[in-house]
Symmetry: C2
Subunit: 200 residues, 2 copies
């Protein structure tokens, strides 16, 4: 472990003022069955659209499916890990995010593609929070199966997280262990453990 | 090129409503010499702190230097590419971001580290916008030299972008080509080119 993280323990509470959407964002698991409105879906991707990226390459791509289209929705859903399916089954909107791994201008590898996708999905998440929606990103899914189900061209795109989106629902219907996590305080390492004003 | 990007051309303007901080954020280059207040610096890192991450690993680390500490500030500045030094010379705050590449719990490789750093830096950028600050992320720097200058332990941390932060300054003092970019409309691919509601 690197020295600045020795003895560091995640804690709850804020150390400095931050935007309300940052304060309020949380990866919850209880979803209501209320559909996400079409104009809100467009706002989510609009937020991603305006993220910064290396050379303004904008290396993000999204496939989304609502429960109104059960065939497409299920192509994404069925690839999720069992632990994610337990709660994501209620999410009215599932989004597969992908990173375009080559530069459009010259076909060379874009080493920043996944990093930039992280930024775009972060913007999307805060926009969702502002719209009263919950977002939960998932790395736990069967990549091979999802690539097959959506016919992803792997020579151009690299699968990123799958994102569950929807309005918050009743935590009571979650299994006990997930219900506890839903209500537990959010934990973060203190700033002094990851912010330095000097060399290593 | 993948089919959905064929014939796509970046355009200006918004296609759907988004948060004001997302609308207003822009990677400008003209900085004033006004220092960034200490409490605002803490707010920037607080925003990064509350980003989501895989397994809540929070794999981000930051070294920051203000112009009040010219020795440390210069250790970062002198590694920037010439094209970045031209304008970043006026930035009162420089931040080196790093990704912790191994999980704290088990020492294994964290494949999401750079992706999660992208999210944390995105939160930081929007917080900066909300505080009236400009943020410009830079991939253009001499990595070997910066690692040496800051004594970065490469077995634990991977260098990410260097971030210039400060209040906006007078674009007139920039070289002509950069002045034009400062004032040109922001361009993004339209949603129809990167958002799909179907399989490939």
């Amino acid at each position: 472990m690197i020295s600045i993280l020795e003895n560091a323990t995640p804690a709850t509470g804020f150390e400095a003022s931050v935007l309300e959407v940052i304060k309020d964002r949380r990866s919850k698991r209880a979803y209501s069955n209320q559909p996400v409105e079409e104009d809100k879906i467009r706002s989510l991707f609009e937020a991603a659209r305006w993220a910064p990226s290396s050379m303004n390459e904008q290396p993000w791509t999204y496939i989304y499916a609502t429960k109104d289209e059960p065939e497409l929705w299920n192509r994404i859903f069925e690839t999720l890990s069992e632990g994610n399916r337990i709660w994501a089954v209620d999410a009215p909107l599932l989004i597969m995010s992908l990173a375009r791994t080559k530069f459009i201008r010259n076909g060379r590898t874009n080493a920043s593609a996944k990093y930039d996708l992280g930024a775009a999905n972060a913007f999307l998440s805060l926009q969702a929070t502002a719209l009263g929606l919950n977002v939960h990103q998932m790395g736990g899914y069967d990549k091979e199966k999802l690539v097959e189900n959506l016919n992803v061209p792997l020579d151009e795109l690299e699968p990123g997280v799958v994102i569950a989106v929807g309005y918050s629902g009743d935590a009571e219907k979650l299994p006990d262990n997930l219900k506890q996590r839903e209500e537990a305080p959010r934990l973060r390492y203190p700033q002094e453990s990851f912010v330095m004003n000097k060399s290593f």
